[in-house]
């Protein structure tokens, strides 16, 4: 048994690492020209999440032995004001235990990977400081026992994503991408915050366990409102339509950061929050249907966009949006376990894919356009094979992880009786297989399209620190799926204590499930083989598509991401600019400024009358002081 107060160590260690490397990075400014000792920084920054991972494992084992699967520890009273009483209290239950292990495990691998990837970067120590802070925030988010503490982690994650996406802030475009992520998240956070306030207003508590017990005190309308507002927060963090725009731009950061954001942290926060409050969500069918619809639409939308992107990281970004849509779809139809399981497996193969793409980009001297790559299979075999495993996993080919989780969601959708949803989800799964294999074939097959001799001669397999995480992740992407074999799922029984019980209605026979399983595998194989046909057998397909007048508008629409950014610009940003430039400017300048300046003028006029009291002679001040004392004496006597 491990003492529950060591729970604090899990988030605390990365924080310590962050502080150390953060302070160390201060030495390296423009002026000092100090050479950072990279070995020292990488040792501290990688050791802390690894130790956190080991502690998480120990907690996982001791949680396994407990009858009631819950470890809590109250560290101190954080906020105490009137009826509001918030403790700094951490909680470990099956869900958060699973999350801590995923975060620290994948986080550690990404840290190790970054040692090589960020080698010789000016901001090496700063980068690791942010990375550790990111891990810390995410751990606080998942370990929090009440909503305000979760909100702390939630905001911390938002902050770190801003810092890391805009890591190379000298490049203005990248700094703007960081701003975009931050501002988009703010919109979601506003909804989340109002949801928290509403919960407190209704039941006077913010503790998860108390919320679950007191949930019956609220009426249905208010629950629907709260859950919808919280879902707005989840949309912001987990990049669902219409707040998805920041995630593809988040590719501006270093590639391991993208891996961390997309796989282990940040985007999973929304799913986690909904599963954490599943008791609340289960009471509001309306919200759940909204969640499922938005999830499904996002999954479909992102898959269509991913087909035409030509930046390797953008394809992966949209695939993440799409997979997150799947998770929300699963959660929205009430299959919390299936959604969480997809989150779990997705973390592994998406980290694998991103780190693989990082390896490719590294080899290609920071070239990200897939039409300049090609034929890399022979040059970087390990990256190619692990990337292939990731592709198969995300496409849903057995026995890789993605098959089990995605099939589970598809089966639950089918079981819920909504055939339209099922068909769209299945089609999306076809698209997923198609665009992922397209990416794989274009990058690793065919002929190298780039002509620059310097870059060609530089292509090589990545260093050992980058390869080892790839191999580990590839192994896990292959095997973790077996934790969730239908009908004997270890994962489901592990999570069962915290998931609200639902009435099991057996609509269909088990044989139906097997038939559907075959259908989805078939669909995936169809997607892969059509990608093979289009991009390997007939590799000039893109030009044909683009020159075909019928397909051109569709192609352009997909290529331009359904014009979401343009629509936002024209509908929201431009009118805002217009209003602020022409109407609010006048109000601000003459009304508000006039008021503020008037007050300051009033005070300066008043002080002019009294300035002679300040003679500057110490004795006069002493006279005043004694006179004041005299008055106090008189008051105290009478």
């Amino acid at each position: 048994m491990i003492d529950s107060k060591f729970l604090l160590l899990i988030p605390l260690l990365p924080l310590i690492g962050s502080i150390i490397s953060g302070l160390y990075s201060l030495l390296n400014s423009e002026k000092t020209n100090y050479k950072i000792n990279e070995n020292l920084v990488s040792f501290i920054s990688c050791a802390t999440p690894i130790i956190s991972f080991l502690i998480s494992l120990m907690f996982f084992l001791s949680l396994n032995n407990l009858e009631e699967k819950l470890i809590t520890y109250n560290f101190y009273n954080w906020i105490s004001s009137g009826y509001l009483n918030v403790d700094f209290e951490l909680m470990l239950d099956p869900l958060s235990s699973m999350m801590t292990i995923v975060i620290t495990f994948i986080g550690s691998l990404i840290h190790i990977y970054s040692i090589s990837y960020m080698h010789n970067d000016r901001g090496f120590a700063r980068y690791f400081s942010y990375l550790n802070l990111f891990t810390f925030s995410m751990l606080i988010l998942v370990l929090a026992k009440n909503l305000p503490l979760m909100f702390l982690g939630w905001e911390g994650v938002g902050l770190c994503s801003y810092l890391l996406i805009g890591f190379w802030f000298q490049d203005k475009e990248k700094a703007i991408a960081g701003n975009k992520a931050f501002i988009t998240n703010r919109i979601g956070d506003l909804g989340f915050l109002i949801g928290i306030f509403l919960i407190f207003w209704q039941i006077g508590t913010l503790d998860f366990i108390d919320i679950n017990q007191k949930v019956s005190e609220m009426n249905l309308e208010i629950i629907t409102l709260i859950t919808l507002l919280l879902f707005v927060g989840a949309m912001g963090k987990s990049a669902q339509i219409p707040l998805h725009v920041w995630l593809p731009d988040a590719m501006a950061g270093p590639t391991p950061v993208s891996a961390l954001i997309h796989a282990a942290t940040m985007v999973t926060a929304g799913i986690y929050m909904i599963v954490r409050l599943n008791v609340l969500y289960s009471l509001s069918p309306f919200t759940l249907s909204i969640v499922a619809s938005i999830g499904l639409f996002t999954a479909f939308f992102a898959a269509t966009v991913a087909i035409t992107q030509d930046d390797i990281k953008k394809v992966l970004a949209y695939s993440t949006v799409s997979q997150l849509g799947y998770m929300f779809l699963g959660v929205g139809i009430g299959a919390y376990t299936a959604g969480t399981f997809h989150l779990f497996t997705h973390a592994f193969f998406k980290a694998l894919l991103f780190l693989g793409s990082g390896s490719v980009i590294h080899a290609m001297s920071n070239e990200q356009n897939i039409w300049k790559m090609g034929g890399l299979f022979s040059k970087m075999k390990i990256t190619a094979i692990t990337f292939c495993i990731g592709t198969l996993a995300i496409s849903g080919i057995p026995p890789f992880a993605g098959f089990f989780s995605k099939d589970e969601i598809l089966w639950k959708v089918f079981e819920s009786g909504n055939i339209l949803f099922y068909i769209i989800a299945l089609f999306t799964s076809f698209l997923t297989a198609f665009y992922m294999s397209r990416l794989f074939f274009v990058v690793f097959f065919g002929n190298l399209r780039i002509k620059d001799e310097n870059i060609i001669s530089h292509i090589h397999e990545s260093p050992i620190f980058m390869i080892i995480p790839l191999i580990i992740l590839a192994v896990f992407s292959t095997i973790v799926g077996f934790l969730g074999i239908p009908h004997s799922s270890l994962f489901e029984s592990w999570l069962s204590p915290i998931i609200v019980k639902q009435n099991e209605i057996q609509h269909y026979q088990n044989s139906m499930e097997i038939v559907l399983m075959f259908i989805s595998v078939l669909i995936a194989i169809l997607g892969i083989s059509s990608a093979y046909y289009f991009y390997v057998v007939k590799n000039n397909i893109v030009e044909n598509l683009y020159n075909n007048p019928k397909l051109k508008p569709i192609y352009k629409m997909s290529y331009n991401k359904w014009y979401f950014d343009e629509v936002y610009r024209d509908i929201i940003i431009k009118p805002l600019y217009f209003i602020s430039n022409n109407i609010l400017f006048v109000i601000d300048k003459y009304l508000i400024d006039g008021f503020v300046n008037g007050i300051s003028k009033l005070y300066s006029a008043m002080s002019y009358a009294f300035r002679d009291i300040q003679s500057g002679i110490v004795r006069h001040y002493a006279y005043f002081m004694i006179f004041g004392m005299f008055i106090i004496f008189l008051i105290s006597i009478f």
């Binding site: 004795r619 006279y623 004694i626 006179f627 004392m629 005299f630 004496f633 006597i637």
Partner: protein, 167 residues
Amino acid sequence: MIANTIFFWIFSLIAVISALFMITRKHPLSSALCLVITFIALSGLYGLLSAKLLFVIQILVYAGAIMSLIIFSIMLLNVKEENLPKEDNIKKRVIFSSLLLLPMFFIIYLSIELYETYYFQDISSDFGSIKSLGLFLFTKYTLPFEIVSILLLIALLGVVVLAKRKI
């Protein structure tokens, strides 16, 4: 007991008179010497109140260290007659200040007189000795004691910094 009374009158008269001398001398050096006498007389009063350690410390630290520091700095500056500020209008200031202070003094005097009269009882010879006060300081007042030591250290550094500054 009668000796106590006599010594009390002697010491307080010396303290008050030399304090009055202190604020009326023209040259700061003579004021400082008067102040030394006040401090020594005060230490006598401490002795009468059986604060033995404070009696010693008052003489050592106040009359000894602090006052010699003041005298040193006066001599270091080599203040001459023409450097001394002209105390013009001193009568006006004295009258004004006294008018301001007398009511306060009167109030304080009244509040002291209204206080119950208490004649000192005999007390064990241990009270106020080095051992008892030392034990008291190092048990109940350890933290303030340590903080004061840090304050002294900082004052030391501050003086060095101030004194080395070129103007």
